[in-house]
Amino acid sequence: MDNSQFLILSIWVTVAGWLAIYVTPARFRGNVTGIFVFITAMLTSIPAIHVLTLNKIEFAISGISLIGNIPVRIDSLSAWFILIINLTSLTGVVYGLGYMKPYGDQKSNLTLHWIQYLLFHSSMLWVCMVQNSIVFLIVWELMSLSSLMLVIFDHQNSKTLKAGLNYLVQMHIGVAILTAAFIWVYLSTGSLDFAAIAQFFQTHSNIWLFLLFFIGFGIKAGFIPFHSWLPHAHPAAPSHISGVMSGVIVKVGIYGILRMITFLSTDYLILGELILGLSVLTGLYGIINSAIHRDFKKMLAYCTIENIGIVGIGLGLGLIGLGNGNNIMIILGFGGALLHTLNHSLFKSLLFFSAGSVYQQTHTRDMEKLGGLIHAMPQTAFLFLIGALAIGGLPPFNGFVSEFILYKGMLEGISSSNMYHVILIIISFAGLSIIGGLSILVFTKSFGTIFLGTQRTKLHSEPVEASLSMRLPQYLIIGIMLLIGIFPSFFFSYTSQIVITSFPGLENINSGSLTPFINNLSLVGIYATVFLVLIALVYFTRLLLNKKNLTQTSPTWGCGYVAPRASMQYTSKSYSKTLGKLLGFIVTEKKKYTELESSEIFPEERKHSAYYVDFFENRIIEKITNRLQYFMNLFQFIQNGSTQMYIIYGLFFIVIVFLGTLFNFI
């Protein structure tokens, strides 16, 4: 069988999967989904690996009269994203099997969930493959809708439904903008093929159409100010879905942006500057917000926004490189962005999975109620810790590799551009270092509050370690992360190859100019290993020396106070309070309480609550929607609920049509 047949077969496998899920007994439906996700992943990964190592695949699905032939093209860029999607969807479904066990009694709901999961997986894959505007939009819409259904699994909860609605609306604003962009291309070139976009860019101004695409895809990816769906949808979804959404669905947005970048032909510099600036702001905004929230899934959602910012920094650098004709910067920028896309999908899904295990055992997402879980769930704590280290960009894990490539890209940009770019890039350089420093604050806070210390409140049931099927995919992810951390040059050589084949004009770059950098990168991997060995050495010396020494245990030193309580521990709120105060102009805190009145001699018990609001949502989006609502309410008299009025509308309409045809107006 050749590659195109594999791909077509994967569609039929998805359809067969739905039937299979429907006919199997309820308790096996999850496993059946797992099998079908695995088969689809295999069928699409084989062609993708072929593309990465050999040539691109191009064929057309014919026979649909309405649209004509549907071009399907897989170049190395698509292949890279297909592999990422397959990996995360697979780990997600295996984890999901264990995560969904407690919901076993909601049979029909679960069936729908698994059917949607299959659809979701294969629609994401096809988004990366089809290159016909209309079909692309249909698949894109299928992806959005199926992910919506996955998010609102817990639909009895009104908050979940509200988050789902928010997601639905924002995704459709995105689709509307994308549709407008595609129609613009169609009107001026008369073709629905993606190749027409490149034609359009050759003859028209590049900025406006690209910006339309950027906004459309950016809503999916979560660039500010289009990010506000993420912090609502991620906490509402079941954890394996949050992991997959954060791991890959936002990356599909990045895919879209990258795909459009490959079509660009001028205006690289201005677009690069725009994306670089916006990305640094996105990164900072995301990480600052994730520092202050106490809902750990919200914290992770904001952290996704931060990482999209880091990926965006790579895109911006690459574009500036394209504008300046600096080949090394193009490869480091886009290559770093692609590698960070993979890295983020690994550690973010790991973090969502381990956080999901915590949620499953404790039924709360509020860090303030947790604490000391490392004793009850040592493995989950370890998994979360590794994810936290990796996402902080700390060696020897993979996050460091991609951030290092981006730092190198910026250093390359500093030494070879005009002053304006030098200033922009050095500010991004410092910005990325602040993002790194803040992410350490964020993850020491979350790890410390959730897993360390002692339990802060009494939980309904004693938490126990997550099941093996939930832990296994997480260990797999850690294995891949370590591989990237220790053999970075292997992975980077693939991403740099993708960049070289994706951009015209780079084919004849001599590979010699990249070798010093790739050697440099393999040194990073070696030193990461050295570091691990050094830690082991110090630790074993300690063990050896400590053998002779007496050790004993006693309560934590309370600085002289002998009756410490769990509630006296430092909370996550107090941990980040200073930062919140410092940046009060971005992260506004709202408080709800009633003041004591002077007449109240014996005050009654009262509640005090403080929470942070999203700057863009609170200051901009809500203002606009409130205006809109006000304006729309002016027309409320039309929809007044009385049947008589509605009959009059009908009569009125008929009269207008009658008169119109009578006097030839219509």
């Binding site: 040592p378 350089f429 410092a430 020396l545 309370g558 107090s574």
Partner: protein
């Protein structure tokens, strides 16, 4: 290799000199300069008390912290001699390796479940985050000036000549000294000799460490001091031969230690609430360096 050996050597008496200076400044005789090191060796032989609340994090964290500092020291060059680890962009590696040590020291403080240690941990995380851009702006500017991106090559090509370069050298020294004080939680930011846990940063984080672990943490501080001293010394070496550079290195380290002692004797600690602003100001000094570099390269005006 030379830098590693010399830094380890200096670390044995660096804090001793600081303490001695402080003693003399306050009219006391003070202990010998090797006293802190003797204390550390004594700690290595001692048993330890572990809190009941702690987990494996508390056991491994001091080792990782110490290893991270040693790893960072290996990146530091010595004049014309490369560090053990040297590659393009190694200063990014340097900063991130130090960060991993910090990460573990912070979570080991949180592991004890003590409210005081949490307080120290929160401050440490915030202040070291704020100091980060100053270091990156400084190194980025030096990379721009010299056209190289590794410590060794940057320091080898950084020459003093014009007035601006002297100003750059002074400001870079200032930034590095201040970063060192922040990283080691010393005077303008934190007072290691304070007696109130509420006002401590680093000291309060290690309240529950004892025995070998405490020795490791204390010696890591000595090493960090000597490491930043070596970075400053490297600014001034250029490619001098060893028989000049080793004495210069020792003199600069001693001067650095004495000035730390003097600073701690004659300045008061800043108010905790103003520390953040103070640390962030360092980034503006780094920005000045950046503009100085632009002027030197003729890109500005």
């Amino acid at each position: 290799m030379i830098s590693l050996a010399l830094i380890i050597l200096v670390s044995f008496f660096f804090t001793g000199i600081v303490i001695r200076t402080k003693s003399i400044a306050s009219g006391r005789k003070g202990p010998g300069i090797f006293q802190p090191m003797k204390d550390i060796f004594r700690l290595f032989k001692k048993g330890a008390v572990y809190s009941e609340t702690t987990s494996f994090i508390f056991q491994v964290a001091p080792s990782i912290y110490f290893a991270s500092v040693v790893m960072a020291i290996m990146v530091i060059p010595f004049g014309q001699y490369k560090g053990i680890i040297s590659f393009e962009g190694d200063f990014v590696f340097f900063a991130y390796v130090l960060a991993i040590g910090k990460f573990f020291s912070i979570i080991s403080a949180l592991d004890t479940g003590s409210s005081f240690e949490g307080m120290g941990a929160s401050r440490e995380a915030l202040y070291s985050m704020l100091a980060e851009p100053a270091f990156f702006l400084l190194m980025g500017s030096l990379a721009l000036l010299t056209g190289y991106t590794s410590f060794h090559e940057i320091f080898m090509t950084f020459h003093f000549g014009s007035y601006i370069s002297y100003a750059l050298g002074v400001m870079a020294t200032f930034v590095l000294v201040m970063i060192c004080m922040i990283e080691n939680s010393r005077m303008p930011v934190d007072d290691p000799k304070t007696h109130l846990e509420l006002t401590m940063i680093h000291e309060v984080m290690i309240l529950d460490n004892s025995g070998f672990d405490l020795g490791l943490i204390l010696h890591a501080t000595n090493l960090k001091f000597a490491m930043y001293g070596a970075l400053i010394a490297n600014l001034y070496f250029g490619d001098l031969p060893l028989y000049y550079s080793i004495p210069i290195f020792l003199v600069i380290q001693t001067l650095f230690a004495v000035s730390v002692g003097l600073l701690e004797s004659f300045t008061a600690r800043y108010r905790m609430s103003h520390n953040a602003q103070f640390i962030f100001t360092l980034s503006s000094v780094s920005l000045l360096i950046f503009f100085g570099v632009l002027m030197m390269l003729g890109k500005l005006i």
